[in-house]
Amino acid sequence: MTVETKTNGKPHVNRIGLTSQDYRGGETTLCQGCGHNSITSQIIAAAFELSLAPHQVIKMSGIGCSSKTPAYFMSRSFGFNTLHGRMPSVTTGAVLANRTLLAIGISGDGDTGSIGLGQFKHMVRRNVPVVYIVENNGVYGLTKGQFSATADVGQTLKYAGTNVLPPIDICIEALAADCGFVARSFAGDAKQVRELLKAAMSFHGTAVIDIISPCVTFNNHHDSTKSYDYGKAHEERLQDIQFIPRFDEVHIDYDEGDERYVQLHDGPMIKLRKLGRDYDPTNKWHAIELLERARQNHEFITGLLYINTQRQTLHETMHLTSTPLAYLSEEELRPSRERFERVMQRFM
């Protein structure tokens, strides 16, 4: 894959002539070492590598430390830092208004798992096209360290004490709502995050990536299942993931037993190389079982958990005209006199 390197002193540019620099945003105001910052870097890298046109991207978020990050990448893209837990609906509205936009949504575990759970599930159900990233640290960062709904049982926090409630698993929730792209990753696993991001950005429909993203200030002690230490020690990758863009010439190695290719909508593919266990990412029940077991046994499994490219997206089910609604002209929007009269007749 292309990564930013300098060749002959000139910055490396991508297919649309932009440098990686062009995908950066403002300076972060998050804590030093915050997992969210790593994810920001990978979003920048993925967007650069995919040669996304910045003005065609919208960066959406809720409220939280995580939700601040859209300010820190792609400042040439529009964005909307919305309300706590309500990014799904605002995003739905935005992509309805303009179907050509690529929405990248950033949320937190509190934002999605607590206040926003209902919206999240219904957005998934509608298959709203969006790359939906949950920067999951098991804690409310911005309000200073309360438990979120993804905190594991038995975790302790300085002020909040010990958590006794079972965690909500974002991936299980997405699966139950029939999500067509469900993945989990770890902010400390830069490559996997990046490859998953590129795949998600190329997916048609809701793509959910739940990324464990340590909060160094409030939830990074050794015994926290959302800490760097724990993640590094326990991450078990389901597969080795490589995104293969359409424009790449790839030698597809049909080493069937170990590799598997998933074809995305407009040509690109995901190459999954088997690691420890046999896993079929197109079987939803197995995905749920895997996750339920992992939840129970505190396993930390990452990778592409489920993919299904068959579901119709919101735009498809709504039969929208191909021009973005937002860009229709007055002529296209105002009904003719004939149509007007046809309706008036009904009231006569």
Binding site: A53, P54, H55, Q56, I58, K59, P70, A71, S75, R76, S77, F78, G79, F80, N81, T82, L83, R86, P88, S89, V90, T91, T92, G93, A94, V95, L96, A97, N98, T100, L101, G118, Q119, H122, M318, H319, L320, T321, S322, P324, L325, A326, Y327, L328, E330, E332, L333, R334, P335, R337, R339, F340, R342, V343, M344, F347, M348
Partner: protein, 616 residues
Amino acid sequence: MTHVIETETQPRPLDDLESEPIVNDFSIVAATVNGSGSQTANNVLMRAIFKMGIPVSGKNLFPSNIQGLPTWFIIRVSKDGYTARRDTTEILIAFNQRTADEDLASLVPGGVCIHPNDVKFTNPRSDVFFYPLPVRELVRQSGADAKLRDYIANMVYVGAVAELLGIDMNEIKAALERHFKGKSKPIALNYGVVVAAAEWVRANLSKVDRFRVEPMEKTQGLILVDGNTAAAFGALMGGMTVCAWYPITPSTSLVDAMTELAPILRADPVTGTTTYAIIQTEDEIAAAGIIVGAGWAGARAMTATSGPGLSLMNEFVSLAYFAEVPCVIWDVQRMGPSTGLPTRTSQGDVLSAYYMGHGDTRHVVLFPGTMTECFEFGYLAFDLAERLQTPVLVLSDLDLGMNNWMSEPFTYPEKPFDRGKVLTADELERFKDWGRYKDLDGDGIPYRTLPGNPNPRAAYLARGTGHNEYAIYSERPTDWQQNLDRLTRKHNTARTLVPKPIILDDELANIGIIAYGSTDPAVREAGDILRARGIRTAYLRIRALPLEATLTDFLAKYERVYVVELNQDGQMAQLVQLHAPEYAARVRSVRICNGLPMTAQFVVDSIMRAEQAKRE
């Protein structure tokens, strides 16, 4: 019609009974059971009278359930064209045994009671006329399918009323044909029962009461429509592109009408692809979120809701106000607080709507008062929302929205859309120092860009947090204060752009009346009655918030100004007082909050009482 009479009754003097026929000036009340299909019968009756050239209005008082509870439909027939609700019933169709006694008690002396012959009255009255009908028999004779019988039974009263009042049978037939969209079988079945009932009445009963209709020429060219349909039609004419909603009475029928009309008006006739998206959401928060997202991205976005839904939208309205996102919210008001009376009307959300959201917020609110305004505000709301880059609330109510009203036909909107200050990539080139929240014109309204705009300077991050003129996050006290000051400026600009009040002047007036929305017919009628009693009034109808100078001038002219409204706290009266503190003491609130549409009588009585008190 218990639910109406208990508030005030105007018994007619008994000696009236001797005098002449009463032509085209009475109210018919059909008391039935909901879910029994009586709506068809009522609408057919109303339409037939309307088509005879006689002014009518219909009000449906229905319960908040689906089937089996009492419901009343009031048809006011008024040669003078009055369309407000009246408290008196002259003709009762007593088709509900459960309420028969109370309904009968509400009839005026000399009134008429048409009822199935098996309905029992505990205290039959001697001062009204009874016309018992063999409903079962007539239905049986119709040969209608067993499961249609309840439904068909209502046609019996259509026939009886037609016969007794002299309604043109051709108009009944025409109304049935229209209702059944020309399908001959149901038309024949229903019309057969109507005719049979009429014939039975002619053969077996003799007309002893004084009420009848006679053709006039007062409704030619007029239409009958409900406000929700008018609003949906207007919105579609205004280029509505995204409508996100969650079902709630009485706003549901607005979106239903939109769903029905949109394909006719706005779909590609060949491919069926649409230039709009109507999306039912999981709740009102999501509906609000979707229109905020869509409005931000450049759609003409709206929702329709009622009280509880409005409450849920507070946080988003606060965001849209502050991030300056255009969107339109129709609040078809029902009776609150809380779930309240979901099928009764009210004007109780005025303050909630105006001050909606936490922090310092006040909004543009429109108050349609006629069917034409429901239609026109349907598109005007988008123009204002996009011009002002702010949420616009339209406060209709159940009475306007769900009842059928006479109206002049709507006219094709000639004025082009106002899409407000939106900069394309090229236009942005001309602006050297553009900032998303920068007031370049001094009117408080900044220029915006839409996602997808390829100009590298176009992008910005919208947010509900403090920002400077360039949309950059800021906690600086001056940035915050300046931004709020600009929003205040914008609100003052709104004052100049919203529809002005309508004034019905009277040079000899010594008092003023202010009203808004659905109470308009009652207030106009009250003005006439008051004039007949020697009190001359001038009338100003508010059509929008924020309030403006016309209102101040009006207040300046009259020593006492009565603000008439359908709520408990005199909400508009409060806003009028705040608008012109120097005249606050002149403002008197005339209000009632019982779920029923306003009557002229209540307005007259309240003002007479107050004026007399003044004199004593």
